[in-house]
């Protein structure tokens, strides 16, 4: 009897701590996510109550749409560019700020994280100003070296405008991964480096034989994370800087979803784009994990 009450009390306690959170999460996160999968099978303008079930037609149309292929290409261009740019710079900064005995290392570390705390809208506005054809930084700077005023519309090329979105994306992303790698390097016992130094091994050699193998796990996490956040979230900066233009050349999947849903009211089609983003990010995760499946050195 007594143990029965105790058990009941325990159950009530657990339920009272689990259920509110789960309800909240269910209503505002799980339910909309599942609903999106459901919408992707319908033709729906959003305004009317009427949804027409069209099976896989949204997906068929999606793959016939040349814009989605360009968007996928742009997405993976950003993924690749960001992985290369961020990983090289973040690793360099992390090593330089931990292993090189620089003065001011902690100042640099705090400063380099600042872009990560600034809203992506603000970053978009700042970089738009850098690229502004009339009054922007870049053209004014180039004009110092030319006779005539430079008036390049940096965000209006017919091809390759997506390249212009890479610098802001890298600039804004580095701090986070740098902190991650710094923490990983600080976890490496100092004695490893001491032994290597006694044998006369150079910094460069130590980086390849000690640091890199021991932070490889965190580098993998970083690469996967860059890929996921890019496929899922890079559209915000694209939307603010170019709205996918000119002529849909900088469209990424997320921005195309946004445009299809909230500008053109093809909610079913847009949901299909969302499903595509989900599928591609899961598939890419699996592929990248396979590619990077190298022996990880465990710290004993």
């Amino acid at each position: 009897m007594n143990s029965g009450t105790a058990k009941l009390q325990r159950t009530i306690f657990i339920a009272s701590f689990i259920v509110p959170t789960l309800l909240f999460f269910g209503v505002f996160t799980i339910y909309p996510t599942l609903q999106a999968l459901y919408y992707s099978f319908f033709d729906w303008s959003g305004m009317s109550q009427h949804k027409e079930f069209i099976g896989l037609d949204n997906f068929v149309n999606l793959f016939k749409d040349p814009i989605i292929w360009r968007a996928i290409g742009n997405d993976y261009f950003l993924v690749l560019g960001k992985i290369i740019g961020i990983m090289i710079l973040a690793t360099f900064f992390a090593v330089a700020l931990t292993r090189f005995n620089f003065k001011l290392a902690s100042f640099f570390r705090s400063t380099f994280f600042i872009p990560n705390i600034i809203s992506v809208v603000v970053i978009g506005v700042l970089w738009n100003f850098i690229y502004n054809p009339q009054i922007g930084f870049l053209n004014s700077f180039l004009s110092l070296f030319t006779k005539e005023q430079v008036t390049i519309t940096w965000l209006g090329f017919q091809h390759h405008t997506i390249w212009m979105l890479l610098p802001p994306a890298i600039w804004a992303g580095i701090g986070f991964y740098m902190l991650l790698l710094i923490a990983a390097i600080q976890n490496i016992p100092e004695s490893y480096y001491e032994a290597a130094s006694l044998e006369g091994s150079s910094q460069w050699h130590q980086f390849w034989t000690i640091t890199l193998p021991l932070i490889w796990e965190q580098m993998k996490v970083s690469i996967l994370n860059i890929m996921m956040t890019t496929l899922n979230g890079s559209f915000v900066i694209v939307w603010i800087m170019t709205e996918g233009g000119p002529d849909n050349t900088t469209q990424v999947m997320g921005s195309y979803l946004y445009q299809m849903a909230f500008r053109q009211y093809h909610f079913g089609f847009a949901s299909a784009i969302g499903v595509l983003i989900l599928v591609l990010s899961l598939v890419t995760t699996v592929i990248l994990q396979r590619l990077m499946r190298q022996e990880t050195v465990e710290l004993g």
Binding site: F13, F24, Y31, I117, L179, V236, F262, S281
Partner: protein, 281 residues
Amino acid sequence: MNLGIRNPFIKFICYAILIVWCISVIYPLIWTMMDALKDNQQFFFKKPWALPEFPLLWENFSYVWSTYNFDRYFMNSIVITTVSTTLGLLLAAMTAYVLARYKFRGSNALYLLYISSMMVPFVLALIPLFFLMNSLHLTNTWYGLSMVYASSVLAFGIFVLVGFFKGLPKELEEAATVDGAGYYGTFFKVMLPLSQPGLITVAIINVLNIWNEYIVGTILINDPEQYTLPVEIGIMQAEMQYRTEWGPLFAALMFTIVPILIVYIIFQRQIASGITAGAVK
């Protein structure tokens, strides 16, 4: 015995790269401040890096504050960030504590549900969320947006706090139980105060994310009375095509950046530990 770099040339190159990057981070902040004090004349006829001319146009700030209603947006952002951070933290801490300390049927599955949800792109849920909020009459309300934000930070909070609670010694709870504190007393009077460092870390990271959030805010809020700062900045910059008010635009950016910069300067350490909490294990 870390001797650092000895070759002076390589050392110079490394320093140069660090300093260039440092400038690329700090300079935009300085130039945002300077440009917030200029009039349109200076934008069109002077170099963008020119110092603002005297008299400095401090009016740009008061102009944005009152004419552009930034007083309102600022308050909206503060209220929404505070409410959703508090709510999200409490809900996450409760579940995290139970998941860390009690085994029950489905506890593992529940943990996995929250963790795996971090893999699902949020943009997928955006469309149904809009219609859901509409039918619940929660669009264009500060509490509606706060609830969505609170929900969006749950998974991260649970992830970090489960690890944190697991790291706390069990003896303290046992002592509390012996002293006659019930389940709830143990949690609120013993565990919550003990886990303050973890809670602060999660709270600060949530504050950063929510204060800066743009896309959900744009979709769920159409009423200008209810805009948050990032939503209004997005609108302001789109309007720049028709009305050129560069000075006020940069003043508006300052209103968004400065509060979060202050938070960052105060809580740097917690932010860094929050970021590395999950990844380095």
